[in-house]
Amino acid sequence: MKKAFLAFLILTLTIGIVFAGGAKEAKYPTKPITIICPWAAGGGTDRTARFIAEQLSKKLGVPVNVVNKTGGSGAVGHGEGAAAAPDGYTITNLTFEINVLKYLGYADLTPENFIPLIQFNEDAAAVIVSAKSPYKNVKELLDDIKAKPEGTFKFSGSTIASAWDLPRIQMLMAYGIDPQKVKYIPTQGAAPAITELLGGHVDVLTCSYPEAAGQIAAGALKALAIMADERNPNFPDVPTLKEQGINVVGGTWRGFAVPLKTPELAVNTLRKAMKEITETQEFKDFMNKAGFGIKVRVGQEFGDFMINQYKALKPVMETAGYLKK
């Protein structure tokens, strides 16, 4: 009798555990979700992450918190995101930097350390000069760089090997100019670089158009080109680099990913919810107002995009001398 009772107890408990486990599998999410943002509170990536966190929380019915894990040019946040428990409750806000961390020797991380969920933003680099400068298009500027002695021109935009520095190198290379022929003045982001250009301390700036939009509207600066596939409907007067005969596209992007081995249910739920968010008018209004470009790539398409860019950046990093040996 005792044995039978014990057997019954074990059986119920086992079933109970299996069932509970099964229930956990079948239901997602059941507890708060964390989004790791590798950049500081109040910055562009943080603002978009917080907006989407709010929307995602409404959609999934659980709290979604943004945690800023900053440092090491994004290495800290991306690293903690990749190493987080693969249960679908830690999402990482990936940015362009994931494609250069390994080349720079900052962290052994590539896009392949993540399961891609969705990309929601892309901002092309723009070539910006002082409104007083004589150049009417990019070719005039680049021809002048070719003609003048080495070190005459100073570029700026952001940190070394950033999303604003690398397209600059690609542009120069595509036009047959050795990137070392110009100087690059590294800054902690686009804002101080704009200050440098306004003060006349540098000659050319590569950063996103909206970051300099206030100065362009006021007639202090002008944009010669954007490095996108086609013109942007928000500023249709600015031609693409491609139109001007230089086949270079580049800039920054933002997206979300989860660690490898995350259960399929969580991945699919998040992909679907985030895709729906990007289709809402509210999302579009937010992005337009804040000056962020919208580009949506879901799942594998996002993954392929990252891997292709990661591979394409290697020769650029090498020419620029940024590749860690």
């Binding site: 500081a40 070394i160 902690q188 200050t195 909206p210 006021a218």
Partner: protein, 498 residues
């Protein structure tokens, strides 16, 4: 430039503006008084809440929270020797000394009034001559910032009491530590030993909390005798003493003006903020004082200078932000992002296109100073409550808040470790009378000096000449020379006379 009329002033006195504004100012007191929680963090958290409100509500909240937070940072700096915000680092020096002499209430009352006055002067400068100052700030580039940072660093010599050699040891320690992390001009990780945490460098906020705060807790608990407990730093009755403040301030009119100007000017520079302003104002106050020997021993002037300058700097940071759309510090950087969300295009056109809003911002900034006086007083009273607990509870509380604050900075346990390590280091340094402030100055200014020198040299292909022949560079170089040669020349002249 202030097209001021009654309508603009009255337009901010509406319930839907006043309530969030005052709530933000109360939040600012809390955030400022908590070590590790910074005004920048508070602003970053407030901004998403304001996307659905009219712009002025959000801007009033941001202005309010930043002014109260910068003042409230001085409260724990004065009573506990824990700077509540980075801008309060210099307020520790004499405020805490006064507190040790039982004059803490006077120090904090003086601090609050000076903060308000400094803030008001900063805002008035913003309202009146911001376009001129902003154009001036644009002249600053790596060459000028290099000298400014060096000037700041030389303050460590000025503020050191006792052995100059020990001051140098302390400053060098800070400088060496500041070389850890990614090198901005090459992107190379230095002294990181493969750790991603060390790659981002040693953040000075946890170091400051550890060196000043935790070390003081350690010192307090190492006092064994009951008689000594009475002299211990933490006093039981904290109240703001406003009676003698008026007389003291009357005596120091020139110093208040000088510190406000230094604060506003440094605040207006996009490459330097309230923390550096406070240190430079303190050093300059000592240099221009008739009684420099009293600095560091609980001097009133030593309280007035940094606390006036850090609040004045806030007005300064809005100058490049409003005139050029360039952030003057990390708070205005967030403000500019928020302005886009409000549908305003930050930049020169805001001044012309949104005249009314700019006037409202000015009005809010001025009125915030009056609110600061009242809320700051209440904040001090609230702090009193904390001291009614037994000493062991207070000490444990400081430790816990220091750790939480360090963690909150960027959700990193590594920073908590830093607080503890530097707490012990600070305790040991004081045991052998090595001063702590030069260490912090070295850590803050080391990267600024190095980056600006190196990037400046990249610009000029290795030519040092622009560091001397640009007008502002030359001025700073001369000023620096003067600071160091003033004493020897004075002695030389006196000798000749005799």
């Amino acid at each position: 430039m202030w097209g001021c009329d009654m309508d603009t002033i009255l337009s901010v006195f509406r319930v839907e503006i006043l309530i969030p504004w005052l709530l933000a100012m109360i939040l600012g007191i809390f955030v400022g008084a908590m070590p590790g929680l910074t005004a920048t963090m508070a602003v970053a958290l407030i901004v998403p809440l304001t996307f659905h409100t009219p712009p002025i509500v959000g801007l009033a909240m941001i202005l309010g929270v930043s002014f109260t937070a910068i003042f409230a940072g001085d409260i724990p700096a004065t009573f506990l020797r824990v700077p509540g915000t980075p801008a309060s680092g210099a307020a520790v020096l004499d405020g805490y000394e006064m507190n040790k002499q039982g004059k803490g209430p006077l120090a904090i009352a003086l601090d609050l009034t000076c903060s308000t006055l400094g803030g008001t002067i900063g805002v008035l400068i913003l309202i009146t001559i911001s376009p001129i100052l902003a154009s001036f700030a644009l002249q600053f580039t790596h060459f000028e910032y290099f000298w400014l940072a060096l000037l700041g660093l030389s303050m460590s010599a000025v503020i050191t009491k006792g052995s100059t050699m020990k001051g140098l040891i302390s400053m060098t320690g800070g400088l060496i530590l500041s070389t850890i992390g990614l090198d901005i001009s090459t992107g190379y990780p230095r002294f990181s030993f493969g750790s991603t945490y060390l790659m981002s460098g040693i953040n000075f906020i946890p170091v400051m909390i550890g060196l000043f705060g935790i070390s003081e807790v350690l010192r307090s608990i190492s006092i064994t005798s009951h008689d000594q407990l009475g002299d211990a730093a933490i006093i039981s009755n904290v109240k703001a003493d406003f009676r003698s403040v008026g007389t003291i301030m009357g005596r120091n009119k020139r110093l208040i003006l000088q510190s406000s100007l230094i604060g506003t000017l440094i605040g207006a520079l996009p490459g330097a903020g309230a923390d550096i302003a406070a240190w430079v104002a303190y050093g300059m106050a000592k240099k221009t004082s008739k009684t420099p020997e009293q600095f560091g021993t609980g001097s009133e002037e030593g309280v007035i200078a940094p606390t006036t300058a850090n609040n004045a700097a806030l007005g300064g940071t809005w100058i490049p932000a409003l005139v050029f759309g360039i952030p003057g510090d990390s708070i205005t950087a967030i403000v500019l992002g928020a302005m886009m969300m409000y549908g305003l295009k930050p930049g020169p056109l805001v001044f012309q296109g949104s005249r009314d809003l700019v006037n409202q911002i000015f009005t809010v900034a001025v009125i915030s100073q009056f609110f600061l006086l009242i809320l700051g007083y209440l904040g001090i009273r609230a702090f009193t409550w904390f001291f009614k607990f037994p000493r062991n509870v207070v000490l444990a509380g400081i430790t816990i808040f220091s750790i939480i604050g360090a963690y909150a900075l960027r959700s990193s346990v590594f920073d908590v470790g830093l607080v503890l390590v530097f707490g012990i280091l600070g305790y040991l340094m004081e045991r052998v009378t090595i001063p702590l402030p030069p260490f912090i100055l070295g850590l803050i200014l080391g990267p600024m000096i190095e980056e600006n020198l190196r990037i400046g040299l990249v610009k000029t292909s290795g030519n040092f000449w622009p560091f001397f022949n640009r007008p502002i560079s030359a001025f700073f170089a001369m000023l620096l020379l003067l600071i160091f040669l003033y004493e020897p020349i004075k002695i030389l002249i006196q000798r000749k006379r005799n």
